[in-house]
């Protein structure tokens, strides 16, 4: 994969921080929603808002890409010790994360 080559480190770092900040934002919004209490009606109303849908879809896309980047980093650190191919670990993550992405988008839209 080209984007995993040398010279992409700074882009990875920036992307990772942006993704992580989006995850923090999501966590805060999730906590606020749960603490304020949800009913079936309030949840339906929230999820029918197109801005909420777009926000969640963007967050989900970042989380998807971030999970693959993180898997690549983590697999690179532990694959040798665990005697597993790093590509297999990343491959599994790509497949599972893609299922998450599709399932998540299906729930949102």
């Amino acid at each position: 994969m080209g984007i995993m080559n040398k010279g992409w480190g700074v882009k990875h770092w920036v992307f990772q921080r942006v993704s992580n900040a989006l995850i923090v934002l999501f966590a805060v919004l999730l906590a606020a929603t749960l603490i304020s209490g949800v009913s079936y009606e309030s949840l339906q109303a929230l999820m029918s808002n197109p801005l909420v849908k777009i926000y969640l879809a963007i967050t989900l896309l970042f989380v998807f890409a971030n999970s693959i980047l993180a898997a690549w980093q983590i697999a690179g650190d532990y694959a040798k010790k665990l005697n597993i191919s790093s590509n297999v670990l990343v491959g599994i993550t790509v497949i599972v994360s893609a299922i998450y992405l599709i399932a998540g988008l299906k729930i949102i839209f």
Binding site: R17, N20, A21, I23, V24, A27, V28, L30, A31, L34, I35, V38, Y40, L43, Q44, M47, S67, A70, I74, T93, V96, S97, Y100, A103, G104, I107
Partner: protein, 126 residues
């Protein structure tokens, strides 16, 4: 000339500084969140499917310990993940990067994570 420097330290045999625990915990929490994402999707899907399935979910969340534990674990991992992220971003801007500062911010992040963990427990069980 003999080189007596230790090489290839086995990380499992040395006592690690708190900053190392703060760092590895961030990774562990990331993995928990990633695995727990399945639960988040299932919960979100049943909460939105119909009013009946929302009510079923509400009953499950109030009575099923295993589901409560999963939700608590997910929220706790997310809590520390956020602490670790904030720590990272603060350090990226050049603060708390020396040995002492690193220990301080790592302790603060872990302490914050413990507090969020307890608060998640209150949210789930209270």
């Amino acid at each position: 000339m003999s080189d007596t420097r230790p090489v290839n330290l086995d990380i499992a045999t040395v006592r690690l500084p708190i900053s190392a625990y703060a760092s590895i915990l961030h990774r562990i929490c990331a993995v928990i969140i990633w695995v727990g994402f399945t639960a988040l999707l299932v919960i979100a899907s049943s909460a939105l499917k119909s009013e009946a399935s929302f009510d079923d979910l509400a009953v499950t969340l109030q009575s099923n310990f295993l589901v409560q534990f999963l939700v608590w674990g997910f929220l706790s991992a997310l809590g520390y993940y956020c602490m670790g992220t904030i720590k990272h971003i603060i350090q990226d801007f050049g603060h708390f990067e020396d040995k002492k500062g690193g220990q301080m911010i790592s302790t603060a992040a872990i302490a914050g994570g413990v507090v969020l963990c307890l608060l998640a427990g209150v949210l789930v069980w209270a």
